[in-house]
């Protein structure tokens, strides 16, 4: 039932050296991405969700200390030589980012930027063929009058159109994995839906696995197949999207779902407290200080992911919470 693994991240740890001390942004993350699936990665700012994949792409600055394993198509990326990494980036795995205006070089034409991506990995392509393919790609992502618009500059496009261009660049070489880091956050709500639709279409057409990083559960609910919830640099819950939304096991996920506006509720119920300071991460479960179900054990021992029904959870008290009827 499960197709082959394209991306396998094991025990990834990323630490930054800051003037105030070492900052552990990612503290042992495991993620599996299967071919053709849409994997949602949910977490708030500071959860480490972006850093995880920047590390996988090799896009973090040199001073970041990265340990663990990232297997892409069976090949290890951590510590791999530069040539291997460059082959991977844009070829096997691509990444798109949040702000499409600043993501594109303002002085190069849009078509040229796609051509650059094409020729970096398909060097046998002639300039003419590459240009033709660039126009085709623009067409695929839904840009009208692609042939003319390929000669324009990024500032001549609207926000949504620019993000489509960014997607076109990312899929140019038919990568196995496309990592989308908050692709819709900087866009209007109406445009958001369009962009998600483009991403979905690309996924279905090319069989690309997509990792959709976001803090917006609505987006996850709409398009994701499986979900990975992160908090304080670790996984806290994993599972299929329907299962997760129906019976979340981890208090953080519960809190996230409960804080969504829903009918009948007069007020919003946010999760109380603040995310932890990653310069001095709590010794036990990262969420424990804010958790209404936490006991002393939660504060001292760092929980690992384990099976829990059709989900995986990192909550020590998951069973107890269910027994208690989910009341503290």
């Amino acid at each position: 039932m499960m197709s082959e693994l394209v991306l396998s991240i094991r025990d990834l740890r990323v630490t930054f050296d800051t003037p105030l001390g070492p900052l552990e942004a990612v503290r042992g993350v495991d993620i599996d991405v299967h071919a053709g699936e849409m994997m949602g990665v949910v977490g708030e700012s500071g959860s480490g969700k972006s850093v995880t994949f920047l590390a996988a792409m090799g896009l973090l600055p040199h001073r970041a200390k990265i340990t663990g394993s990232v297997l892409l198509n069976g090949q290890e990326m951590i510590g791999a030589p530069n040539k291997v990494l460059r082959n991977m980036r844009g070829g096997l795995m691509s990444m798109i980012f949040q702000d499409p205006l600043s993501a594109l070089n303002p002085v190069h034409r849009v078509g040229d930027q796609i051509v650059e991506m094409l020729q970096a990995h398909q060097s046998q392509l002639s300039d003419k063929d590459a240009a033709k393919r660039a126009v085709e790609l623009l067409d695929i992502v839904g840009i009208p009058q692609a042939a003319e618009r390929a000669h324009q500059y990024p500032h001549e496009f609207s926000g949504g159109m620019r993000q489509r261009v960014v997607i076109a660049i990312a899929i140019a070489n038919n990568p196995k994995v496309l990592i989308a880091d908050e692709p819709t956050t900087a866009l209007d709500v109406t445009v958001q839906a369009q962009i998600l639709e483009v991403i979905e279409r690309v996924q279905k057409t090319f069989g690309t696995a997509v990792v959709l990083i976001t803090h917006d559960l609505g987006v996850i609910a709409r398009v994701a197949d499986r979900v990975n919830v992160m908090y304080a640099g670790r996984n806290v819950e994993k599972g299929g999207v329907d299962s997760l939304f129906d019976h979340p096991s981890h208090p953080y996920t519960r809190g996230l779902l409960a804080s969504l506006p829903h009918e009948g509720a007069e007020r919003l119920t946010p999760i109380t407290g603040f995310p932890p300071n990653m310069l001095m991460p709590p010794p036990g479960c990262g969420f424990a200080p804010r958790c209404s179900f936490a006991n002393d054990g939660c504060l001292t021992s760092l929980p690992a992911l384990r099976s829990f029904g059709d989900l995986e959870t990192a909550c020590l008290r998951a069973e107890q919470i269910v027994i208690d009827g989910a009341r503290p």
Binding site: T18, P19, F274, P276, N277, M280, P289
Partner: protein, 304 residues
């Protein structure tokens, strides 16, 4: 439970400034210099026009009688340097202040209003700044100096007062550009929109929102204006167009100008001490300006 201590932006800027050791050292150095200059009746050993002793007293090398040696008519170079620095610092400071005030007003109005006024101001300052500086300086000096009623107000063209205004005339343009740039950047920010939505008048917005948020770049502009003025004054004096007061009064520029002749004659102290002082002051103010710029507009590119 973790708690983040809150530091105000001003405190953060101060901290960043203090982390620049060169700038801090420069502040100390300048403070000492200013002190020495203010207390010149005590720190100088002789009067500005006073001979060290009866002849032979000319071109004496540095010794106990005259720490930095004597000049062509036997005056103590050390004391003259103190008086000279005083004059130059005053000229530099005052002209920079005038430049900055005028530049802030023009720049803020140009940036905020935009439109025709902004266009014209920009083109004019563009051209002025592109024109060779020394030529413009000398020509304008003579031109303004020949307009009689102007010299009545701002002094004769060899007076220090005149030079202050002359340098201010050149200095405001650079400041105006910097302030205009800052205002343009701030103009689009939401807090300005919010102020406008509440009905604040344009003048109020400029006074209460735009200018206070531009303090950083303004201070940087001020420091570079001071250095520019001091350097310009010394260049003028080098060519003989510096402030003359007849009674032996001198400026740093005049003292440096004397270095020209000293090269051939081998009286090295005439050149070395004034030049060294000028370079030191320039460096110090430049360091401070650079650190100010970093403190108020930090970039994450210092290897962090």
């Amino acid at each position: 439970m973790t708690d983040f201590a809150t530091i105000s932006p001003k405190r953060m800027a101060l901290r960043r400034f203090l982390s620049h050791k060169a700038a801090v050292g420069s502040c100390v150095l300048l403070a000492l210099m200013v002190l020495a200059v203010i207390l010149s009746p005590f720190t100088a050993r002789y009067g500005v026009n006073q001979s060290v002793r009866k002849p032979p007293n000319t071109f004496l090398p540095p010794q106990k009688l005259a720490w930095f040696g004597t000049d062509d008519i036997g005056r103590d170079l050390y004391s003259r340097l103190i008086y000279g620095i005083r004059v130059s610092l005053i000229i530099g400071l005052f002209s920079a202040l005038i430049s900055t005030i005028v530049g802030c007003v023009v720049g803020a109005v140009a940036g905020f209003r935009g439109g025709r006024f902004d266009d014209v101001v920009m083109r004019v300052t563009d051209l002025f700044l592109a024109f060779p500086f020394l030529v413009a300086l000398l020509v304008i000096r003579n031109t303004i100096g020949s307009i009689h009623w102007l010299t009545v107000i701002i002094g004769d063209k060899s007076s220090a007062r005149f030079i202050v205004f002359l340098l201010a005339f050149f200095g405001w343009m650079g400041v105006a550009r910097i302030v205009r740039g800052q205002v343009l950047a701030l103009k689009e920010r939401e807090f300005i929109e919010a102020a406008r939505a509440v009905g604040a008048t344009r003048r109020y917005i400029v006074r209460r929102h735009l200018l206070p948020n531009s303090i950083g770049p303004i201070m940087v502009a001020l420091s570079f204006a001071v250095v520019g003025a001091i350097t310009a004054e010394s260049t003028l004096a080098f060519f003989g167009y510096g402030p003359q007061a007849g009674d032996g009064a001198t400026s740093l520029g005049i003292l440096v100008g004397a270095a020209k002749g000293a090269v051939q004659t081998g009286y090295w102290w005439i050149a070395v001490f004034p030049c060294f002082a000028l370079v030191l002051i320039s460096l110090a103010i430049n360091f401070i300006g650079d650190a100010l710029r970093d403190a108020t507009d930090p970039r994450l590119d210092r290897g962090e």
